[in-house]
């Protein structure tokens, strides 16, 4: 057996905090051999990231590491910075989770890249620039010369992550450590980056840290599963996926979506009753924001078309999912329906009445029947109000006739409905976990028994296990109260569990509207097909056999959408007609409605 590239023995990481010592990593051992591709998997708080930081001496000031980390036989744990700096960036480089936060915002891309080369080699300016441009080519950044002189905020999320990867590859490191390299990215961009990392396996040894077993499935040879600071299971990827022994691993696997056509999702979707009469109808809704752009010398105002002509309806008791990547306009759509922002055109008909014509006062009366749950549970609860007061606030507004006792009783009822206790009533939001806060948000939204609940990415910020519970809670509440739900998410696997009908959104337009099973089994629009093929799934064989459609490029700017079909710039089947005519919705034989010339 060859000598390991990196050997980590009995690694412990402890944090000094105000609340006492936190033992984040409790004795982790592993070895990385040249040519390996290892995945370290666990939920947030499992210690996986702190393990990686400890390896490279990047722990926070209040952390202490003990044990042993050897890089090519050389002990580097707690080594002085001078010794580490001969290895960091040159022999071992790292890619971090959030490329916006991890690139220095006020330094040009080129300067950040060349800095590494100047540190670790004796290249002069021109040689360093040539090398940096070469690596930018390797990571497939469009127009590397232009990007070289740009600042990070001028690049898209996917391009920034490519710059991070380029920065890591500059000195041809022996080992690449990637900490959640795709978590902050959209599904189609995640697929691009994963595909690229797969191609890197030939060049270098890789350790990937992720919460997502699906990411590991398509990439790694070996997997370590971490839970609460310990490695609970390790083995070849096949073994872990097909014959895992540890219950925690199995729970993680169970939280992953099933591959398509292998098995239908468990149980019926939320709304099983036949759709009743129409509750909400949205007609050709447009929301444009005026934005200023510099045009040579003068600046002029152009509309940012966040939502550009969408129509759909929601029936009583129905759950409608709206999926799309960030920036596609799905949250704007939700806000426009709630009249939290004004619309530019079109109609929103709520129970037969056009909402956009109503006065503020009249609109506020209608809010009784419109509940809403936002993405970030903590920041959407007032930090200075107790949980009880937060939940009771809608009652004070709409049922002033209730006396204190009745109101308390209603709040306790609502708390019980979402699985919280009576004692939670007098506590403040910051004392709760993300999942509990989201329960409070749901209780607040449901206390008036609304007829429509709009959930904007309600589970995106939650861990896999909490996510499952929260979805279960929404299902139960719907069964109990018969509320209709608009469920907005970028996560197709969640939408698949929750929704009756799915609307796929791209750049302010709907491209496909279909019943859930039809959409997932036979997606008609090329964009839907790409999204579905990019979902990481838990069955390894399916994952590896599944034909992946990797979209090139990134969504265009909504200030200058392409002519004709908005998707044509990334569409694998686009032809001339796509740029000439905007496709109209057609109904297919199976009932799906799709806006594509070629579907």
């Amino acid at each position: 057996m060859s000598t390991p590239l990196l050997a980590c023995e009995d690694l412990h990481v402890r944090f000094e905090t105000h609340a006492g010592e936190v033992h984040a990593v409790k004795g982790v051992d592993f070895e990385v051999h040249p040519g390996d591709c290892i995945g370290i998997v666990g939920e947030s708080g499992s210690g996986k990231t702190q393990t990686a930081m400890a390896l490279m001496g990047l722990l926070a000031d209040n952390a202490a590491a003990s044990g042993s980390v050897r890089f090519r036989e050389e002990e580097i744990l707690n080594a002085p910075a001078g010794q580490l700096n001969r290895i960091r960036g040159r022999r071992v480089s790292m890619i971090f989770q959030d490329p916006m936060a991890s690139l220095t915002p006020f330094m040009r891309i080129g300067a950040q890249l060349c800095e590494v080369l100047h540190q670790h080699s004796d290249m002069n300016r021109d040689e360093a620039k040539a090398r940096a441009l070469e690596v930018l080519e390797i990571v497939q950044i469009p127009e590397p010369r232009r990007r070289f002189g740009m600042y990070p905020h001028e690049l898209s999320g996917g391009q920034r992550q490519r710059v991070m990867i380029a920065q890591a590859l500059l000195c041809e490191p022996d080992l690449l450590i990637a900490d959640e390299p795709t978590t902050a990215l959209d599904l189609t961009i995640q697929a691009q980056i994963l595909d690229f990392l797969r191609s890197l396996k030939k060049r270098t040894t890789i350790v990937i840290i992720t919460h997502d077993l699906g990411v590991v499935a398509g990439l790694c040879d070996t997997v370590l599963v971490m839970q609460e600071g310990r490695v609970v299971e390790r083995g070849a990827t096949e073994t872990i996926f097909n014959a895992s022994e540890h219950p925690y691993t199995r729970a993680l696997l169970a939280a992953l979506p099933r591959p398509k056509r292998v098995q239908p999702p468990e149980g019926p979707s939320i709304g099983t009753t036949a759709p009743g009469k129409s509750l909400l109808r949205v007609d050709d809704l447009r929301v444009h924001f005026p934005t200023r752009v510099q045009d040579r010398l003068r600046s002029r105002t152009v509309p940012l078309k966040a939502v550009d002509g969408v129509s759909f309806s929601v029936a009583e008791g129905e759950t409608v999912g709206i999926v799309g990547e960030s920036g596609c306009g799905k949250s704007t759509l939700a806000r426009a329906i709630l009249q939290l922002i004004g619309s530019t055109g079109g109609r929103i008909v709520w129970q037969g009445e056009d909402l956009s014509g109503l006065s503020r006062k009249a609109m506020n009366e209608r809010r009784r029947d419109l509940g809403v749950v936002f993405q970030d549970p903590l920041s959407s609860l007032n930090p200075r109000m107790t949980i009880g007061n937060i939940i009771a606030e809608p009652l004070r507004r709409f049922h002033p006739e209730l006396d204190r006792e009745d109101r308390d009783a209603a709040v306790l009822n609502a708390l019980r409905d979402v699985g919280l206790d009576r004692e939670h009533r007098d506590r403040y939001p910051h004392e709760f976990s993300g999942g509990q806060c989201q329960r409070v948000s749901i209780a607040r939204a449901m206390i008036l028994k609304p007829r429509l609940l709009i959930c904007d990415e309600p589970v995106s910020s939650l861990d896999a296990s909490t996510r499952k519970q929260t979805i279960g809670l929404l299902k139960d509440l719907q069964k109990k109260h018969g509320v209709s739900i608009i469920f907005i998410s970028h996560d197709l696997s969640v939408v698949r569990i929750v929704c009756d009908r799915v609307l796929v959104m791209y750049l302010g337009h709907f491209v496909e509207i279909a019943d859930r099973d039809i959409l997932f089994d036979s997606p008609a629009h090329p964009y839907t097909q790409a999204l579905i093929s990019a979902i990481p799934v838990s069955d390894l064989k399916a994952q590896r056999q599944q034909e992946r459609i990797i979209l090139t490029g990134e969504p265009p700017s909504p200030t200058a959408p392409p002519s004709g079909c908005v998707f044509r710039t990334r569409c694998p089947v686009a032809t001339d007609i796509c740029s000439e005519r905007e496709p109209e919705f057609r109904t297919l034989e199976n009932g799906a409605r799709v806006a594509c010339h070629h579907a």
Partner: protein
């Protein structure tokens, strides 16, 4: 950037106009007049003086006349120093005030940043606690308390430095006033720098810089200092305004012949045109220096750069 600066300067014109208008009417509300302090002035002579300076005309007419003359670049005659005009008085005092203010700002800015950086890099050490305790005192104790105390100690008790006077800006004479004037700014900037240094030391991109294998001094100088400067730059605007009001106090205490002291005397003498003249100088300076601070801010952070 040039466009942006020009636009900001255009906006400054109406701002100045409002300031001048407010100042013009505010000093007229104050009781008394410019000639009340002249001993044994008989009423007929006073009336003649008022006529000579157009003070007998209706207030609005005086206001209109003042604006008209101002538009022609004339700040008018001084009402207290009757053989001089306001422009001459300002031209005489301004170099003194500028030297005092500029030296104090430079000392406050660089001294404060240095203290803040050192405190942040030695976080929770004895150095940190000492620096921060002094800074706390500097923020809390007003100039009119520190200035006499400094004079008492270094001037009278130790006898190292002169007590007052300008003496053509001789070095020994400007030390105490500059230090007294710089202290609050220095203290404020120390506190801000330390806070922003600690914040930017914890940023993700600083971790990236360390992961690149850069030595600590490069990490600090390239990736930490610049964002740490930004709150300091936004503090510069108010700090400059503070230093200007501070200089009024300092010049009076140390008896320096600057426009700050002229301002105080003008106010006591009801020298309307002198007060207005100095208000215009102060307001223009504050507007210009704030614009400069915003331009520096844009240079430091490309994300807020006006396009």
């Amino acid at each position: 950037m040039l466009n942006y600066a020009l636009r900001r300067l255009l906006v400054a014109v109406p701002t100045l106009f409002v300031i001048i208008t407010l100042a013009f009417f505010l000093i007229r509300i104050a009781p008394g007049g410019p000639f009340d302090l002249i001993p044994d002035l008989d009423p007929a002579a006073a009336e003649n003086l008022r006529k000579a300076y157009d003070l007998d005309k209706p207030l609005l007419e005086q206001y209109g006349n003042y604006l008209w003359r101002l538009a022609n670049g004339d700040l008018g005659p001084s009402l207290a120093y009757r053989d001089r005009n306001v422009a001459e008085l300002i031209a005489e005092g301004f170099p003194v005030s500028a030297q005092l203010g500029l030296t104090a700002m430079v000392l406050g800015l660089f001294g404060g940043m240095l203290c803040g950086i050192v405190a942040a890099l030695r976080k929770n050490s004895a150095v940190d606690f000492t620096v921060m305790a002094i800074a706390m005192a500097g923020v809390g104790i007003p100039t009119f308390v520190t200035a006499p105390l400094l004079t008492l100690f270094f001037g009278l008790y130790l006898g190292w430095l002169p007590l007052s006077g300008w003496n053509n800006g001789q070095f020994a004479h400007i030390i105490l006033p500059v230090v007294a004037l710089a202290l609050p700014t220095l203290a404020g900037i120390t506190r801000i720098t330390r806070g922003s240094m600690l914040e930017s030391l914890g940023a993700d991109y600083v971790r990236t810089a360390r992961a690149k294998g850069l030595p600590e001094w490069k990490v600090i100088s390239r990736h930490v200092l610049r964002p740490a400067c930004m709150p300091v730059v936004s503090y510069l605007g108010p700090a400059i305004a503070g230093a200007m009001t501070g200089s009024v106090v300092i010049e009076t205490i140390f008896g320096l012949p600057g426009i700050g002291r002229a301002f105080v005397e003008g106010a006591l003498n009801r020298d309307y045109s002198l007060i207005l003249g100095i208000v215009i100088v102060y307001a223009t300076l504050i507007i210009l220096l704030n614009l400069l601070a915003d331009i520096i801010y844009g240079y430091l952070d490309p994300r807020v750069r006006p396009r």
